[in-house]
């Protein structure tokens, strides 16, 4: 049998199969359970059955049977490949993989994807970070000159690392860049086999929570928004636009569900993903890294264009026509159906530095749950008292005085001065504050002692 005959036979078989199952609409979604910022279009929608809830059941869909499948991936690359082969209709991924997706599809003659919605963002880029082994004597990014730094190349964290090094004036020749996956990087940080590792959400916090790593640089310092979103194959979108609208409604509802009770949400997400709830809380709680908002803002498109520039320079990325690729039509229809003002949400941007300024610090008591404190002084006193009773504390959370970023108490630097205690992510910031206010820099254990002394 010639190749042509074989293909013809396969094609006819496929066509017959298609006709026979005309009433069944297959919806296949690729998501990432090890990437927190994708959860509202991935694991939460899947586990709560939110897509099923919003799928159309009238008009041309009256007799439709839906066949929904979810596939979990460790990165966006394979999702794009599976979408190319039409094994997936929807893909959920971070900013850099999204661009690769759009550009790779536009490189073909006959296939396209559309970027139809976001999942969430951090305005300044928090979520990506550079971590060093917990006992390292490195505290600032300029100390990385001459050191070995690893990162998953092609990820958002890689883009952040390049930008951060450029901003610090450290040329590529002055440090050894190693390509390491999140799991390998985390393992190497734990055993101090690498000087520093840059990674995306939630790996940095995972290392901090497990006590193996310490952040020295947060993506916020690059000032470039970090965002995730949803892409759909255009042929699917043309055939079933109402399904895409239903998907966006599900994404929105997933966000509302998390906001309504973050503690319950992260506990459930821990069961679904294996990522510790205390780590997830730093993303999904009030004041967390992630602002849940599916709208596509002009600022996001500008950020994606800048990311595409980096990819073009570093990876020979094909061009991407953003006008053709990005569409808000389905978002607007979904919001209209839900009775929500799309433009109002689109025009609202949360800056953690401002939004978190007055938020209380928190202790996660293993039995009593989250307990809030108006000041760090009260927080330290409470920790001391809990310890005296032998109570188990899952985690503690404070806010960086310099940026408003939510931190684990155990990784923060505290400054005790006449104004009481303040918390900092970076030691240099703590040192500067201490010098200005005649304070003393210390870590959590010393701060607890310092409170009582």
């Amino acid at each position: 049998m010639t190749i042509t005959k074989l293909f013809t036979a396969i094609f006819m078989a496929a066509a017959l199969t298609n006709t026979a199952s005309a009433e069944t609409i297959r919806i296949a979604i690729g998501h990432q359970s090890m990437c927190t910022d994708t959860y509202t279009a991935g694991i939460v929608v899947k586990e709560l059955g939110l897509l099923e809830k919003h799928l159309p059941r009238s008009g041309k869909y009256t007799d439709a049977d839906y066949e929904i499948s979810w596939s979990d991936y460790s990165s966006g690359g394979p999702i794009t490949n599976q979408m190319m082969a039409n094994k997936l209709n929807f893909g959920v991924m971070g900013d850099y993989p999204l661009i690769v997706n759009g550009a790779k599809f536009q490189e073909t003659k006959s296939l396209r994807t559309k970027y139809i919605a976001g999942t969430g963002y951090n305005l300044k880029g928090s979520g990506n970070a550079i971590v060093v082994p917990v006992d390292s004597d490195i505290y600032t990014i300029d100390q990385l000159a001459g050191k070995q730094v690893s990162v998953p190349v092609g990820s958002a964290a890689w883009g952040m690392l390049l930008k951060a090094m450029q901003d610090e004036g450290i040329p590529a020749k002055d440090y050894a860049l190693k390509n390491q996956s999140p799991a390998v990087g985390a393992a190497n940080i734990a055993s101090s086999r690498i000087d520093a590792h840059a990674d995306f959400c939630p790996w940095s916090e995972l290392m901090e929570f497990r006590g193996t790593g310490r952040k020295i640089y947060d993506g916020r310092e690059t000032g470039i928004p970090y965002l995730h979103g949803v892409v759909v194959r255009e042929d699917f979108l043309d055939q079933y636009p109402e399904v895409a609208i239903a998907f966006i409604k599900a994404v929105h509802e997933a966000g509302q569900w998390i906001k309504a009770d973050p503690v319950k949400a992260v506990a459930m997400m821990e069961n679904w993903t294996g990522v510790e709830k205390e780590v997830l809380y730093i993303y999904f709680s009030e004041g967390g890294h992630l602002t849940l908002d599916p709208t596509i803002k002009p600022k996001w498109v500008e950020a994606l264009k800048a990311d595409h520039g980096v990819l073009t320079k570093e990876m020979n990325m094909p061009p991407l026509d953003f006008e053709e690729w990005v569409t808000e039509d389905y978002l607007k229809k979904a919001y209209s159906d839900l009775g929500i003002d799309y433009d109002a949400e689109k025009n609202t941007i949360v800056d953690p530095g401002v939004a978190n300024a007055q938020l209380p610090v928190e202790i996660w008591h293993s039995r009593n749950g989250i307990i809030s404190y108006a000041s760090i002084d009260d927080f330290l006193r409470a920790i001391k008292e809990f310890r005296e009773t032998g109570a188990k504390l899952n985690a503690t959370y404070v806010y960086d005085e310099a940026t408003g970023l939510k931190l684990f108490g155990k990784t923060a630097f505290f400054v005790k001065s006449s104004d009481g205690f303040k918390a900092f992510l970076r030691k240099p910031d703590a040192d500067t504050y201490a010098m200005k206010n005649k304070g003393m820099v210390m870590q959590l254990e010393q701060a607890i002692e310092g409170y009582s002394s």
């Binding site: 396969i10 979990d72 460790s74 082969a85 039409n86 860049l177 390509n179 390491q180 799991a183 294996g274």
Partner: protein, 227 residues
Amino acid sequence: MEKNHALAGDYMRRFRISLRLARRNKALCLGAGAGLTLLYYIVLLSAPMIKFQQWPNYVTTYDWLENVGRIIASTPSWSDRLVIINDEWLFEIGYMNYDFGIGISQWSLFVAPIKVLEIMIFGALLGVLFLIVRSIGEASCSKRNLWAAKATGGVGAGLVALTSISLSWVVCCATPSWVVGLAMMGLGVSTSLWLEPIGWWLHMAGLGLLLSALYVAAGYLPDIDKT
């Protein structure tokens, strides 16, 4: 015009001789195709196992026929279909790290039937080249020509083997790519990724070199029918 006819005639003569040689040694050619393919994939699988000192701990199979049917039905352009089908997998074997979350695939070998077929054809062509070179030796041709044919075929085979690598390594590419081979051999990952788009051209160059070696070598053979 006469020159063109002569060239075409010469080309056909060389092709005919090579084909007859292959037919007379079917078992060797088929054996070379199958054997080299098997050897190639054993080497591919061994490379990450040796480099990372890890045994594979997962295997996944894919419904290749159904997937190809779906690609054909949903991709309007034939050129797009062929490119996508070319990368369609039948089988995946690799190492999964379960230290975090539900696990992350550290490295894996993907077996795509179209690529396997390609490697088999390539192996068979190498077998034909071997037969021709052996026959040239028997025909007492100059050693220099013999060496040139071997070297050209060898470089061609090397390029095709390199650009047919279907390994994924999460620190380099989340999807299988030939540049994973370069990265594993020590080339910088950024440089490897930058080279990725020229893979097709290198592949074609390799094929061209092997066919050229066959063409040139066949020219030194006496017509088998007359021998």
